[in-house]
């Protein structure tokens, strides 16, 4: 365990070197967010007779995007998948086959370090933005929701990481996997709730999405925070989210074993 703490510490050091990049990324990321918020304001203003869109007031809609931004900063995968693919392509994982160090846990420690530094760097721009928009932001409805939100954010981070990790392992078989990373990212972007809250979709479509892991990669914890997912649905959702984490974890382990058999240690 302590060795992974060391990895985490080194990861923080490495990520700190990119703090300016993280700051740019977080700051520029707020611009499209702001444009989307203006878009929603205009939509609500165009329909004065209808104060709610699928159960969201304007304030509720803005709150969705604000909480989503925070959850995304805490859990989003940024560089990890590229680095894993590069490790494999350039033969750098050979050392993990010799050392008593588990590559998945090693990458998870680095992912955690990256998120900590990113969140710290994003704290200033996102924090200013939150304070500016604070009147739309309320705490979760009760302690249960807050606790469930915390649990769900951790599960979201694990799910995000494991899916990207498994995807990056494709590099055992393919030279170039960036297109696959972008395709996955596109699905996560729209079906995960990055672009809009998923429950404004037609109910049939939403029901289909529930069978994929995407809603549990972002939308689900945000829905809990806003009190839109409660009671039985909350318990059931957390169970499904945990099941996805377990499933993808198993998949990641399986793909790794098969990949290692295929691995030829290029350049190593």
């Amino acid at each position: 365990m302590t060795k992974y703490l060391q990895v985490f510490r080194i990861g923080v050091q490495n990520a700190l070197a990119y703090r300016a990049n993280f700051l740019f990324r977080a700051t520029f990321g707020l611009v499209p967010l702001l444009a989307t918020l203006y878009l929603w304001r205009a939509i609500y203003a165009s329909n004065p007779e209808r104060p709610e869109v699928a159960g969201y007031t304007l304030s509720g809609m803005i709150a969705y995007y604000l909480v989503m931004t925070v959850v995304d900063a805490l859990t989003g995968v940024t560089e990890d998948d590229w680095q894993i693919a590069a490790d494999i392509r350039e033969g750098r994982i050979s050392q993990f086959l010799l050392k008593p160090m588990d590559y998945l846990t090693y990458r998870l420690s680095l992912f955690a370090a990256g998120r900590v530094v990113y969140t710290a760097a994003a704290l200033l721009p996102v924090g200013v933005f939150m304070v500016w928009q604070h009147r739309h932001l309320a705490p979760p409805p009760d302690g249960v929701a807050l606790a469930a939100f915390g649990v769900s954010v951790v599960l979201t981070a694990l799910l995000q990481f494991l899916i990207s990790y498994t995807m990056a392992l494709l590099a055992f078989w393919l030279l170039e996997i960036s297109t696959f990373i972008f395709i996955l990212f596109a699905f996560e972007y729209i079906a995960g709730g990055h672009l809009f809250p998923l429950d404004i979709l037609p109910p049939g479509l939403l029901a289909v999405l529930q069978f994929t892991p995407f809603p549990y990669q972002l939308y689900f914890p945000v829905g809990i925070y806003l009190g839109r997912i409660q009671g039985a649905a909350l318990v059931q959702g957390l169970a499904i989210q945990a099941a996805w984490v377990a499933l993808v974890y198993g998949l990641a382990r399986g793909v790794w074993v098969r990949g290692i058999k295929h691995y030829s240690a290029a350049g190593g």
């Binding site: 300016a20 740019f24 520029f28 499209p32 203006y38 878009l39 869109v53 596109a186 672009l195």
Partner: protein, 290 residues
């Protein structure tokens, strides 16, 4: 190339004529270089054919995703400010068209500038007998992006048909000109951000940060209340003009022809400033590895 012999009627035409011939010669020289660069890019892309097709697929997917967003939004409203559903589709199409043209010609090159500076490869570009900025800006052509630009045109055509628009030749020519201005604005701004790499190694973050701003271009300008956001994204980073103005020209939504003039003159201004910044930056260049 020899300058044309001066005619006896003209007292001293030689310097002017030879300067003109010099410009002509340089243009031809650069056009020839560009043709070779285009061919090289094509050869490079064709050696990874699957990847080439996959990238087109990825871009199409992202475009479809933006259109899906419009479809979802218009499930819940009839209009956004003054914009109807198909007008917004036209706008999203125009934005995609301009963005893909920019991607085709400039994007990779802008992103790579910081690598050239970091690795010292810029030395070679400065030594070659062509204009260095020309070479750095146009070295690689992304052919796949032209396919995606064409798909954006198809979507725009469909939206125009749904709106019952019949743009005349003048409107189409104006649209083309405004799109070129939009591409040049994107190029000039991103190139300026890329030259920041002469000061810090982290400029790539800036360049990708700018890429985020493309998202603003496809939002109807009428959605933005007048305020600092609108001022900045009209006058400093004219994201609210690049796609909105050409789309409005086609949809006959322009409030006045001044909007077009503003876009064109801003393109000129930003290009001019980026030229100055470039010259200033190269002066700071102190080759990395040698």
């Amino acid at each position: 190339m020899t300058p044309p012999s001066p005619s006896p009627a003209d007292p001293d035409p030689a310097p002017r004529a030879s300067r003109k011939a010099g410009v002509w010669h340089r243009l031809r020289h650069h056009a020839g270089v560009y043709a070779v660069l285009c061919r090289n890019s094509l050869v490079r892309e064709m050696s990874f054919k699957t990847n080439f097709l996959l990238w087109i697929g990825v871009e199409l997917l992202w475009f479809a995703l933006q259109l899906a967003f419009v479809a979802v939004i218009y499930q819940h409203t009839e209009s956004i400010a003054t914009w109807s559903r198909w007008e917004v589709v036209l706008l999203v199409g125009a934005s995609q068209f301009i963005q893909q043209l920019f991607t085709a010609v400039f994007l990779t090159n802008c992103v790579q500038l910081s690598d050239h500076v970091r690795t010292g490869r810029l030395d070679f570009f400065l030594l070659l007998p062509v204009n260095p900025r020309f070479l750095i800006s146009l070295r690689q052509l992304d052919w796949g992006a032209f396919v995606n630009a064409a798909s954006a045109l198809v979507v725009m055509g469909y939206a125009a048909a749904r709106l019952g628009l019949r743009p005349d030749a003048l409107q189409l020519a104006g649209f083309g000109l405004l799109c070129v201005a939009g591409v040049l604005i994107h190029y000039a701004l991103m190139f300026m951000l890329a030259t920041v790499s002469f000061w810090t190694v982290q400029a790539q973050g800036l360049v990708w940060g700018y890429y985020n701003l493309f998202n603003v271009a496809r939002v109807p300008d009428a959605a933005f209340p007048s305020g600092p956001f609108k001022v900045v994204f009209t006058w400093v980073l004219p994201m609210l003009l690049v796609a909105n103005v050409p789309a409005k020209l086609l949809a006959e939504k322009l409030s006045s022809p001044w909007e077009m003039l503003l876009l064109l003159s801003l393109a000129g201004a930003v290009l001019g400033i980026s030229g100055l910044v470039w010259r200033l930056s190269v002066r700071r260049y102190t080759s990395a590895s040698s």
